[in-house]
Symmetry: C2
Subunit: 337 residues, 2 copies
């Protein structure tokens, strides 16, 4: 754990399609020192999220594109190893945007959230259930989809970190929940382990619309969308009156320069539906509300959550693609040695 060098992955070029290891550059340099009102954080865990890929493209998203040559952007959990911030003691575990590197210098104005030093809560939880993942699922369901007892809730990338929580939360709130996923194993996991009412493996279906209709004969009230594209189009065919579609992510499009849009938005008029985009970063001020509910449900055994840990910063570029290939099993995290 004690290092004398800082290892970094920097963005070397804008990827075309899937990010390749050669789109990154491995740089080793001296460990930086924090200036006034700054602290040095040693990263322990790095969160890999589909949105990472979107930051690598030239187009701005909800953040400016990552400049070429910069350390790859990423959320993580680390330990304060040196601090010139009066309110932040050395040794404090913290959550923030530390990037793909061993050591980050962060300022008091940056996102840096001290974490409870509770041995009962593994650090990985802060990148999952109690971090941006849990909050994304919680607020997307509660605030955007607004479920009512007995309604039908569909979620895509359902076995993913956010999707699996979103579906379980909708289930806790009394909905019928259908997950869309990409392997038979994941479909079984959703139904047998997480208690989803049904799951569709889209790779096995010649028509996703038909598959959805089989499981939702009365239509779809809510859709928690993580993938966009043709999946969104299929769902739109089946939405009910006053359906709510919470747009959380569009992983089917992040590796494409231009991806086709849904050709049936007229359904939104016919059904007086609402499509709404949201970002977890608007909800930091309500974190306590989400964490309280998520912790309670987790403790009651009603909210299951798994992590997929990859050991070694050197594997981060290759691991990122697992999110788009669907080969990760739970929240994807890189553990720095």
């Amino acid at each position: 754990m004690n290092r004398d060098r800082n290892r970094q992955w920097r963005l070397a070029r804008r990827p075309e399609g899937f990010a390749k290891p050669t789109d990154f550059e491995w740089v080793e340099s001296a460990i930086p020192r924090p200036g006034p009102n700054h602290a040095l954080v040693q990263t322990r865990l790095l969160s890999l999220d589909p949105t990472n890929r979107s930051w690598m493209s030239e187009r701005a998203t909800y953040m400016p594109p990552l400049p070429l040559g910069d350390v790859m952007r990423g959320l993580g959990v680390g330990m304060v190893v040196e601090s010139n911030i009066p309110t932040l003691a050395t040794g404090t575990p913290v959550y923030g945007s530390f990037g793909w590197q061993d050591f980050a210098v962060v300022g008091s104005q940056d996102l840096i959230v001290p974490l409870p030093d509770d041995p009962a809560i593994p650090l990985t939880m802060h990148l999952g259930l109690f971090g941006h993942i849990g909050m994304t699922a919680y607020f997307g369901v509660i605030d955007v989809a607004k479920p009512r007892q007995g309604e039908t809730f569909v979620v895509s990338a359902a076995a993913g970190a956010v999707g699996s929580l979103a579906g379980q939360i909708a289930k806790i709130l009394g909905c019928r929940v259908l997950g869309i996923t990409g392997t038979a194993d994941k479909a079984r996991w959703l139904v047998d382990e997480l208690g989803f009412d049904a799951a569709v493996n889209y790779r096995e279906e010649s028509s996703l619309v038909d598959a959805l209709e089989r499981h939702c004969p009365n239509g779809i009230d809510m859709y928690f969308d993580n993938v966009g594209g043709t999946t969104l189009e299929a769902v739109l065919h089946l939405i009910k009156l006053r359906a709510r579609l919470a747009l959380c992510g569009m992983i089917s499009t992040y590796n494409e320069a231009v991806a086709p849009g849904p050709r049936n938005l007229f359904e939104v008029i016919i059904k007086r539906a609402r499509i709404e985009g949201f970002l977890v970063l608007d909800y930091w001020s309500r974190a306590a509300e989400a964490i309280e509910a998520l912790a309670r449900w987790h403790q009651e055994g009603r909210l299951k959550y798994r992590v997929h840990v990859i050991d070694g910063l050197e594997h981060a570029p290759a691991a990122l693609n697992m999110l788009f290939e669907g080969t990760n099993q739970g929240k994807l995290i890189v553990r720095l040695s």
Copy 2:
């Protein structure tokens, strides 16, 4: 005005692309007689609306597709000429769905709204400002787009019946209003006569995105969409944080079997935007609120409104296409001889 035969346009076949006169069949028959709890209405004015075209296709919309062989569906204004409905006197002017025919038998359960017999209000007003057109514009702006003082409001098909009212209402509510239209004449009319802040003639622009950006350098807060398709995509490029998009119609798609969808719905996530479809038929119960406001603004000279009257039921099929070619100048109405 006194006829001894009933003339009808019936749907003969499902149109491909624009509706052709040969997609309709002209039928003359005896004037029907109303049964118990029914009334006979003689149609005076027929409203031609883009949505008429959508009813002719095989796919269901917010209404079932019109069966082949049925009288073409359409809203109109007429006079009760014989009544077996105790609450409806002969001689009452009425608004309802009377179809493309001289005489309609309507039941007490059908949409049949008695109109004030006020010589100061021309009958055409009830198909425009005080009918479904005015209400569509009013509730789409007030209830769906929800304007705030100083925001930027964009409307497509801006010189159309609904669009021209929607833009003026947003202007009355203190917005900056930009209209998208298809001729230089209409663009001038919007700015010079209706007081829009700007108008873009999309046919003259090599890039609609660039044209919109020129007029909305700070982005778009609200979009009242009547056309869908590539116009919606162009607007999405420029939406601001928490933009509201009120989907009212999609005239660019009604004559197509399948039309491409917007390829940049990711903007809805980035900007935490809301896209919402609405239909005026959900708002009949609040008609009085809309008519009160519309009448007041009209009387104050702040809400202008024009009608384009075509004489003769025989011209209805050809006239319908004017809505898609953009050759009508104001609310399109067929006057029955």
